[in-house]
Structures are given as structure tokens and as C-alpha cells.
């Protein structure tokens, strides 16, 4: 016998082969190609990690590695838990409860999304440190003379970093949880009430489990963002794993050592995501009911209503109003400094780059999510999931992963062009904004893919079945059935990527061509010297440009609920 594989080994292998679709389906091949395109920079980082790196690991293990890991776990758990509780809680409040200001908080709770974490860190430190407004006021009120007279929590700390990141990242969870709550059929909640569950019990035993996939995606995004952050943790002197990666790279001159650490982090993230998926294996979340009427709403009276109001207000005030007003004050004073530069061009660069990247990320994200839906084989699934972890890789490391493959491609094209047409092509990709758009897409694909995957997963396969029975191919089904159904999520995904691109810094700094600045890079050159005031107008523009998408997002979510008009015209049930 030519094949001597034992049945146990051979079975999965044969099963893959038997799935002829896997080998010949155009969609499968296409999905794998797109996944490969997106995963190339990640693979490049892993490849860099395979080059020798002196004895960096031994040094790290003996000295700081344990501390890095512990600090990072604290940070990620803190931000994960914080965003989960705040995001889910506020989403439930504004979706299902009536309290003063609800209509405004509905969209205002999203506003902190427009504020880059490093800006909030800067502004909050300004207020809370010794010379800041809060402590000065306390000293004046209580007659304290100096530091020794009282105790005040240190803002430049792990706790401070968790606070700041939670404040700007909870909107991811809020956004997705709220969309999930709105999409829930009223039937399940009614059934829950019929079975004698009160509002709390209904929330914990029905609404929350149904929204789990959405909440998990939101928390994962927030946690990955916390994991790859450098600006905020550096400012707060918190020594995380990511800070360690940069240290190994730049201070110990070990690029491969840094790539190894980054690869370890990727493995950690993949393991976490896999563990969560395994935990809800076999559970599917389709909406089959078409009964969408106004969600039941609980009117919060007196103290309860006031609490809800204060909680929401505090979040919006700290995460948005405070930084925006501080920036506005600076901008009013120093706007001429910014206007005397190429300000208009920076605005254009930021907007055009972000729009291009949003379009690319959404198109590729939809393609991949649909490809996985058509063929949920292990290989396709694994490839797409790997491709969407660019979000967890520190930006500058990802940039290195982008420039090496692009540089090699450019060299190849240049060599071919020189020999065939005797014209050099130079840096066709790596020296132009193509590199930035590519980098953004790799980095933020998780946002679009996650959103679209969650959205598609709620469309019952009966729909696909019906369309295919009626003679549509996969492409036509996507265009005529799924596209209209997930249109709202496409917009959500695009806007999320857009807002994040506006704020993006490390990738942009490294990948940009000569004489090319975005608002974020312009702000950075001043902020890195703690001269933020002089670029406050540009910083404020980043925030302002984020507000429009945020409001669009909010309207979009409300509209996404079939029959939402009912909700407006009908008197709330109390």
C-alpha cells in the first residue's frame, strides 16, 4: 500500500481533501488570497523573529520579563473588565430604560471614541497632578501647604492608564452591545417576562447571553488596543510588554528580539480568542422572528433615574467634554501657530487616508467574512482569524512588517522594469501612501471583519438557502440578500476604521513619504515635547473629525432596528 497513514492521522487529512470545495471553490481561494495579503506583514514579523537575537531572552527572563507580563495582564484585564461593565451597562440603560437625558446619551456616549488615548492621558494628568486644577483647589480649600500634608492618588500609574484607556475604549463595547440589544427580537424578552423573570433576571439570563458575541468582540478590540498602546503607557511610566518590545528593539539594538516578543504576544492573543470561541462552541445566534415592535422600556424614577443620568454624564464629561474643552481653550489661544503651517493639507491628508483605508478594510473584511460563511473549513477560518490580529501588534512593529515585504516587492518590480524597459520604477509601494493605506488596513481589519462577521452571523442560513434555491450564485446572494441586510454594519465598520485611522500614529510616522504630515503626526511632533498647546487646533480637529462619524454611527444603529419607527411614535410602556 502506498499510503501508510493510520486512520486516526489520515482521517482529518482525507476530510480536507474530500471537501472538493476547499480545493476548487473560487471563493475559498479568493478568501485565502485576501487573508494572505493581510497576513503578510504579520508573517514578516514572525520571520524576523526567526533570525538569531544574541541572548536577549535570557537577559529579559532574568530581569524584567515577569514584570512586563504581570503589568500587561493587569492592564488588559482592567481595561477589558472596565469596558465590558461600562459598555454593556450603559448600552442596556439607554436601550431599555427611560431616564432624563437618555435621548442625548444615546449618541453622546460614543463621543469618547473620537479622543485619542494619549491626548486624554495628557489632559487628565494636567488636571489631576500636583499643580493641576483639582489638587490646587483641594489645597486652597483645606489650607494644605504641600505634598506632605495630604494624600492624593498618583495619576501617572497603572491605575491611571487603566482609567484613561477604559474611558476612551468603552464605546467599542457600547456600540456593539447596543446594536445587539436593539437587534434582539422583543419575543425573547416577552417570553422571559412570561416565565416570571424581572428586568434584572431578563437581562442576565436572556439579553446578555444573546449579546455575548457582540460584547466579546467589543471587549477584544478594547483589550487589543490596550495591549499595543505605547503613547499612554509611556506617558504614565507603566512598563508593559509593548514598552519592553520597543526597548529591546531600540535600546538593545535587537530587531529580532523585538519581533520575537511581538510574536509571543500574537500567540497569546490568538490563544485568548480561540479559548473564548471554544467556550461558546456550538452556540449559534440567529434571529428568525420577524416580530420587531418597540422594546419594552422601564421608566427609572427618582434616585434611580438620577443615578443613570449621573453615570452617563460622568462618562461623557471625562472621556469627551473635558479633553475637548481643554483643547478648545488652548486652540483659542494658539490657533495662529497651527494655521501658519500647512494645516489645511494635514486635514486633507488625514481625511483622504482614513477614507481610503476605511473603504479597503470594509471591502476586504466583507469579502473574508462572507468567504468564511460560504466555507467554514478550518483552514479558511484559521487564516482569516490570523489575518485579523494585526490590531494586537504594536504599531511600529507592524510598520516594520509592512516595509520589508513591500520593499522587496518594489525591488523586484524595479529590477524587472529596469531590465525590460530600462526605466527604474523606484519605491512604487513602500515610498507612497499605498504603504500607509495597506498598513492601516492590516491594522484595523479586526474592526471591520469583527463587526461584519458578527452581523453576518445573525443572518439565518435559511436566507442563503432560499437565495441559492432560487438560482442565485454566491456573488449574487451576497449582493442581493446579505448586502442589504448588513448595510448598517458596513457603515458601522467603515466609520470605526475611519475614526481609528484619524488617530493612528506609529504606522503613519514610519510609512509616510517625504514631506507628508497628517493631523496626528503634526500633533505628535509638539506633543512629544509636551508642547501640545501649539498644535491644539490640529488635535481638536482630530476629535472634531471623529464626532461626525460617531453621530452617523449612532443614527445608523437606531435605524438598523427593523420597525424602529414604531419606537418613536408609540408611547413607551412603563
Amino acid at each position: 500500500m502506498r499510503y501508510s497513514l493510520t486512520p486516526a492521522v489520515a482521517y482529518p487529512f482525507l476530510r480536507i481533501l474530500r471537501q472538493r470545495r476547499f480545493l476548487f471553490n473560487r471563493w475559498t481561494v479568493g478568501t485565502l488570497l485576501v487573508a494572505a495579503l493581510i497576513a503578510t506583514p504579520l508573517v514578516a514579523v514572525v520571520a524576523l523573529a526567526l533570525t538569531p537575537s544574541d541572548d536577549v531572552w535570557q537577559h529579559l527572563v532574568e530581569t524584567v520579563l515577569g514584570k512586563y507580563v504581570l503589568t500587561t495582564l493587569h492592564l488588559v484585564l482592567g481595561v477589558g473588565l472596565g469596558t465590558m461593565v461600562i459598555g454593556t451597562g450603559t448600552a442596556w440603560l439607554v436601550t431599555i430604560c427611560r431616564f432624563p437625558g437618555r435621548a442625548v446619551f444615546n449618541w453622546a456616549l460614543l463621543l469618547p471614541l473620537a479622543v485619542p488615548a494619549y491626548l486624554l492621558a495628557f489632559v487628565i494628568t494636567d488636571q489631576l497632578e500636583y499643580a493641576g486644577t483639582v489638587q490646587s483647589l483641594l489645597r486652597a480649600t483645606f489650607g494644605w501647604k504641600n505634598r506632605q500634608d495630604y494624600w492624593f492618588p498618583e495619576i501617572r500609574s497603572l491605575g491611571g492608564a487603566i482609567l484613561v484607556m477604559t474611558l476612551v475604549l468603552y464605546p467599542y463595547v457600547y456600540l456593539l452591545a447596543r446594536a445587539a440589544f436593539l437587534e434582539q427580537s422583543v419575543c425573547v424578552l416577552e417570553v422571559s417576562r412570561t416565565l416570571g423573570h424581572g428586568p434584572w433576571r431578563s437581562f442576565f439570563s436572556v439579553a446578555l447571553p444573546l449579546a455575548r458575541p457582540a460584547i466579546v468582540i467589543g471587549v477584544t478590540l478594547a483589550a487589543m488596543e490596550a495591549l499595543n498602546d505605547l503613547g499612554t503607557v509611556e506617558f504614565f511610566a507603566v512598563n508593559t510588554f509593548t514598552a519592553g518590545i520597543y526597548d529591546v528593539w531600540l535600546n538593545m539594538n535587537s530587531r529580532s528580539g523585538a519581533a520575537q516578543l511581538a510574536s509571543v504576544m500574537m500567540v497569546f492573543v490568538i490563544a485568548l480568542i480561540a479559548a473564548e470561541r471554544l467556550a461558546r462552541r456550538g452556540q449559534r445566534y440567529y434571529h428568525t422572528s420577524t416580530k420587531y415592535q418597540a422594546l419594552p422600556s422601564y421608566r427609572l424614577h427618582g434616585i434611580k433615574g438620577a443615578c443613570a443620568f449621573v453615570i452617563c454624564l460622568a462618562l461623557v464629561a471625562l472621556g469627551f467634554l473635558l479633553p475637548a474643552s481643554v483643547l478648545a481653550t488652548y486652540a483659542a489661544e494658539f490657533y495662529t501657530d497651527t494655521l501658519s503651517t500647512n494645516y489645511v493639507r494635514y486635514v486633507w491628508n488625514s481625511l483622504s487616508l482614513s477614507a481610503l483605508a476605511a473603504f479597503a478594510a470594509v471591502s476586504l473584511g466583507l469579502f473574508m467574512a462572507y468567504g468564511v460563511r460560504l466555507n467554514g473549513g478550518f483552514v479558511v477560518r484559521a487564516a482569516t482569524h490570523f489575518a485579523s490580529i494585526g490590531y494586537a501588534v504594536p504599531g511600529a512593529i507592524l510598520a516594520i512588517g509592512v516595509i520589508f515585504p513591500l520593499g522587496a516587492l518594489d525591488q523586484l518590480i524595479d529590477a524587472i522594469s529596469r531590465t525590460t524597459f530600462s526605466t527604474p520604477t523606484g519605491l512604487l509601494f513602500s515610498g507612497t501612501i499605498v504603504a500607509i493605506v495597506y498598513g492601516y488596513t492590516v491594522r484595523f481589519l479586526a474592526l471591520s471583519y469583527g463587526t461584519l462577521e458578527a452581523s453576518l452571523s445573525k443572518v439565518t442560513p435559511n436566507m442563503d438557502g432560499a437565495a441559492r434555491t432560487l438560482g442565485h450564485g454566491p456573488a449574487a446572494t451576497l449582493r442581493r440578500v446579505h448586502f442589504p441586510l448588513v448595510r448598517g454594519s458596513l457603515l458601522t465598520a467603515g466609520l470605526l476604521v475611519f475614526v481609528d485611522c484619524m488617530k493612528e500614529l506609529p504606522l503613519t510616522l514610519i510609512l509616510r513619504p517625504f514631506n507628508y504630515d497628517t493631523l496626528a503626526t503634526f500633533v505628535f511632533q509638539y506633543a512629544s515635547d509636551e508642547l501640545l498647546e501649539e498644535s491644539a487646533l490640529a488635535a481638536l480637529t482630530i476629535v472634531a473629525a471623529g464626532i461626525v462619524p460617531v453621530i452617523l454611527l449612532s443614527l445608523n444603529i437606531v435605524r438598523s432596528r427593523p420597525g424602529h419607527a414604531l419606537e418613536i411614535t408609540k408611547e413607551p410602556v412603563s
Binding site: 537577559h59 529579559l60 530581569t63 499643580a131 505634598r147 520593499g407 525591488q411 510616522l509 509616510r512 517625504f514
Partner: protein, 350 residues
Amino acid sequence: MKHKTITFAGLFGAVIIGAIAITSAGDTGKEVNLYSYRQPFLMKPILDSFTDQTGIKVNMVYAKKGMLEKIKAAGANNPADVVLTVDIGRLNALREADLLEPVRSAILETNIPVHLRHQDGFWFGITTRARVALASRERVKPGELTSYADLAAPHFKGRVCMRSGKHPYNVALLASIIAHDGEAAAETWLRDLKSNLARKPQGNDRAQAKAIYEGVCDVALANNYYMGKMMTNDKKPEQKQWAAAVRLVYMDQDGHGQHMNISGAAVVRGAKNRDVSVKLIEFLSGDFAQKLYAKHNHEYPAKPDVEASALVKSWGHFKKDELSIEAIAKYRPLASRLVDKVGFNDGPNS
């Protein structure tokens, strides 16, 4: 629906064309391409006058990391001609990766003293900066602090503020101590310094002066030009108060002399505009640019006969550590590891 699609496609096309048009605008005539670790707003006045005087356009990318990898990845297509850095660390990393081109130039060799440039012309120091001590005028008597060793003495327990031990400026200082006194002595010094800290290392150089002003600590380290920048800061007048609260102290005047670092420039290997590149570095080392560096940024000109700014001169003459910059570069990785080994960035209570 059709209309919408067409409008969207049209708009999108316009964005793509617009975005690309901007990057390829205007490349005519002579130019030089610069990768800069220094902020553009600091370099702009100097580079603008270079363009005015020579007609050569300067294109620039500013980043604090990744420039080396960018040059490496582009291979023969690398567009960068000149690299500007703020410390010796990056120059040395580029040299070790074999990405720099040796330059022979009579002008550079006259303008820049031997110990501030690479012996084979791989890089050149353009300005020098002193990492001095700042001492509280109120709480530290003159003569109480005179050396880096003093900072680590029991006398200053709980009174020292520091920026991150991993910051290139502090790594370079520690490297110079290793070069002078050996690894073991440097480690002991760092350990003692850590136990003297008033708080976990944090903030930038200005933040150290601010902390002394606020009474968090009594002594700290900072590059001297930050004193100049704070004292003359009309946009943020509170910084003048921070500066007024501290006295600038040159270190080790009875020993090796004050530790110095450089900001530097180098030509990239295979630079397409090599001649113009050398011209730019020569310009940066010349009287005109050196005066601008001194005036705007309060750094010490590398060219010996160009004077420091009036303000910097008012702080008096001092003895500089003449340790070769190459020696500092050599010990940087080791210094960085010592910071980990001692757990310096964990702060005093760890």
C-alpha cells in the same frame, strides 16, 4: 440607488487622485532627502535658510523609530540621503547595520573637533548637549551636589527625580559611567541612585524641573538646553517659574568633567544625491547654522569658535568630559541592560 453608487464612485475616485497628487507634487531641480529624528519645527528655520542660500530643496520625514529599517528594506531604491539624529545611539545603530557612507570633507574636518566625529567620517556631531544636574535653589546649598556620585550618596535619599532610565539620554550617561569606571561600579551607582529616588522615574526633562518646583524632590538631571527653553518660554510662562526654582549644576568638574552627548548627521550608504548631502552637513556645521542652533535651541555648537547663546554663556564655563562619543555608543546596550537588572524604572520601593 444607481445614482448614489455613481456619486459614491466619483467621490471616491476624486479622493484617490487627490491623495496621490499631493504626494507627487513638485520634484524639480536639486534636492536632498532627509530622515530626521529631530522635530521638523526645530529644523525648519535652519533648513529654510539652506534652501534660500543654495536653491536646494530639502524633503523630510520625521520619526523617532523605524528609519533604519526603512532604509534597509528599500535596498538599492533607498531614497534617503541624510540622517539627522538627537543622540549617538541611532547613529551607531546605523553604522553597525552598515547603512552609512564615509565622508571626507576638509570643511567638516575643520569645523568639527575629532572627538565629536567618527574617525572614518561615518557620522558627524553637529551640536553637543550637557546632561546637567538641576538642584532646588531653596533646599540644596551650593556645593552640596557636585558630581554624579553625589546623586547616589545617602545624603540625597528620597530627594532625586529622574526621567525613565531607558531614555536614550540617561542610557548614554550610564554608558559613559561604564566607560570610565567599569560595569560593576556603574551598577552600584545605579542601584544607589534608585534607592535615592523620590518617585518612580517618569516625565520628560522639563517635568523634572517642575517636580523640584512642586517640592516632590530636590535634585534631578536634564539636558541643559531645556533650562534655556523654559526660561525663555513666553507661551507657557509657568515654565519660567519651574526654571527659576532650580539651579543648574555642571557635574564632575573635579573629575572627568561634565558628560556630553551629541546631535549628529550622517550620509546614507548609496545616497543618490551624495554631493548635495555633504553640502547640507557642511552647511549645518558652518557658522551660520551653528549660530541658529545656539540661538533657537540653546545647544552648544560643535564648531569650537561659534559661541553658545548669551543665556547659556551666562551659566559660566565648565569642563567637558572628552570621552569619545564612540566609547559611549559602545556601552549603550550594556547600560540599557543594567537598567533592567537594577529594576531602575520600578522606582524606589521595589
